[in-house]
Symmetry: C2
Subunit: 450 residues, 2 copies
Amino acid sequence: MSGIIEPRTLSGFMELLPKDQVLFDKIKAHLESVYLKYGFFPLDTPVLEDSAILLAKAGGETEKQIYRFSKGSTDLTMRFDLTVPLAKYVAKNYGELTFPFRRYQIGKVYRGERAQKGRYREFYQADIDIIGDGTLSIANDAEIPSIIYSLFLGLGIDDFVIRINNRKVLSGIFAILGIKEAAADILRIIDKLDKIGKDAVFTELTKEGILPETAEKLLTLLTTKGENEKILEMLNEYKGQNELFDKGICELETVIKYIGAFGVPSGYYTIDLTIARGLDYYTGTVYETFIRKHPEYGSVCSGGRYDNLAEYYTKKSLPGVGISIGLTRLFHVLWENEFLNRQLENPVDALVLPMSEDLSYSLEVATGLREAGISTQVYLEEGKFKKKISYSDKLSIPFSIILGSDEEEAKKVALKNMSTGEQVICTLSEAVKIILENKEELKKAKKVIM
Amino acid sequence: MSGIIEPRTLSGFMELLPKDQVLFDKIKAHLESVYLKYGFFPLDTPVLEDSAILLAKAGGETEKQIYRFSKGSTDLTMRFDLTVPLAKYVAKNYGELTFPFRRYQIGKVYRGERAQKGRYREFYQADIDIIGDGTLSIANDAEIPSIIYSLFLGLGIDDFVIRINNRKVLSGIFAILGIKEAAADILRIIDKLDKIGKDAVFTELTKEGILPETAEKLLTLLTTKGENEKILEMLNEYKGQNELFDKGICELETVIKYIGAFGVPSGYYTIDLTIARGLDYYTGTVYETFIRKHPEYGSVCSGGRYDNLAEYYTKKSLPGVGISIGLTRLFHVLWENEFLNRQLENPVDALVLPMSEDLSYSLEVATGLREAGISTQVYLEEGKFKKKISYSDKLSIPFSIILGSDEEEAKKVALKNMSTGEQVICTLSEAVKIILENKEELKKAKKVIM
């Protein structure tokens, strides 16, 4: 055979060592379980789609980032988000779906941007959306934060805040202040508030042609902090001047009113009038979620309400509300900040060590353990006892079951607790009981998040 | 906005309706649970890799089928199996892994072949492999069939047989019969036995230059049916003529001897000397799995033993044994043959129907249900009772919980069993008990496979 090729993985593509993969899978499974608990159906769409479908809407920035190529006469693109495939799916299967249609999808998406720290070219998104047929109650917008709350709290992260705004309120304010035409530029500048601060934003706004007194008024209004009721009170003073604004205030009030009833304690959500989430997609409620200790990572879960999911594929009006978690990035953030419990996570509960050449008794024991719901590996390699037991140690398998001819004759097992070193001779069913009890305890003690 | 684009999905790419997606996910989750129970670690590798890595080995057929393209100066290929990425991973992370390294991976792979019935361009493979460092005990080869057995039996399929052969035995037979040089052609012809029959294979073999008496002898030998012990006895008569053959017989005997001890009842596995599984990869034990009633679908789970997993990426000797299930195809086979229980599978246990404008009580009830482990959706849309209850019906949600002002005042709930039509007024905790009991019963009654 010819030369050796240096094994490597492309930059921007995550590939984890076993113990980290187990942690990643646990987080992914938790997300799935919360989505299911709230009544979302799973969905799985292709990674590759016809470019004409995926790029029906896309503008310049998307076009530059995508992986697009031809195979035969077909122009293909790798999906760059899970929203466009959902829009296609709902338009395509409209007649077969029951609305409101609630779906979750956790899958890889592809963006060929320059790889940098915390940026991935292949990454998981975990999305939920609720799609209505013609209409969708504003109450759904209040349910979303309760799902975000369950997600993060269940992971063991309780130091987060969901920032909520309404695009109608924002557009209404611009209209009231007479700066509607500059909305796009203003949004772009306001987006930098966290990064460059109020003064620098003020300067940029005036450079953009906004009168200093208008910029002052705008910034005072948008950056008002305080209790949600106080902010709503302040906004209510502007009522009656602009129809869109009034509608937005009404939506925002309803959402804030219901969030508590949906089970989210105050302190976990706040109105933040500076949140905009881009320009042309969201039309009502918008959300961002920040880990308080790490604002530098930006929003770890974002989304909002849109009027038309699938305008490029159908004339039906399909309003919806949804959120997306950049799961690969979230994992990276948790990992980097030592949030994760990186004790070697092992999916194996017990390692059976056969000490005689005939494996029959060991295999019988292993089958018995598995039937009792215990993940069991039989160490099938030859070698000295020390080598065998060190395998158990290296993989942090909680129990070793050592089976020599003595154990076989007595129909017993030698059960060694690898963390205490304690070893007992007992029956298979006694061993099952001990291992299962220990597993329950480990489950309680070992949280994914430290 | 401009015109509407007809929403479509590329041919050869599976996209399921919600109820089928739920079934698919159940099958996938079952595979994962079995792999975990046998002590395999999860792995997730990128869909895109450097072409130089993925195509280190590939020959002409693979090259024609792959999705390969350039982005900037990088030559990229979408993975066409999960074995090559595993080889790269193990070679790359050799120092960080503990051997034997047991991993499972369930992921999408891509082959741009002509789409036809039951053939997919994007499909899931579900693989397990056990990789040794330098050596790997033959006992692992006997464990694999026990995993296949657990997989299929757990799905509710018990009409299958695992066919087992050994490539050393096959090569040894060719050497003994003096037809070693024609091995590649012979294997290709013998592979057609199921399709074209013994006589046609005989004709093709003689056309290939094999003497009629040799072809006769070969076919008699390979197609001998009967108990495994009988076949081994027959093979033993040829011992002492060829070293490779003798080694193969010894391996095959050991595997067959242990399979029973690993918990696979006889009747679920058989020696079949015609199984070869391609030319240049497998070097010992090989497996194929057939659904007896549907031999026309070919093998639904195949694999074998190989001497060198990663010879293109490292000089280390990494022997292994593994199997692969074409999960998308298996699902298609089950679906097409009405093996699947296609009663609408719904992940939601209960639908809360608020009958008053204030949602607070309904949301409180829903939170209580979820905390008790019940998947709950609140129907948040406005509309008449009939419309609300029909949503429950359409999605086959087992219970509706109707909450009007009477229920709220009494702090009770109206619980309607949607399949019996029975409605009771009870407390939340009574409702929880009834729903959970019913869920347990449904779980027992509703098998994925009919």
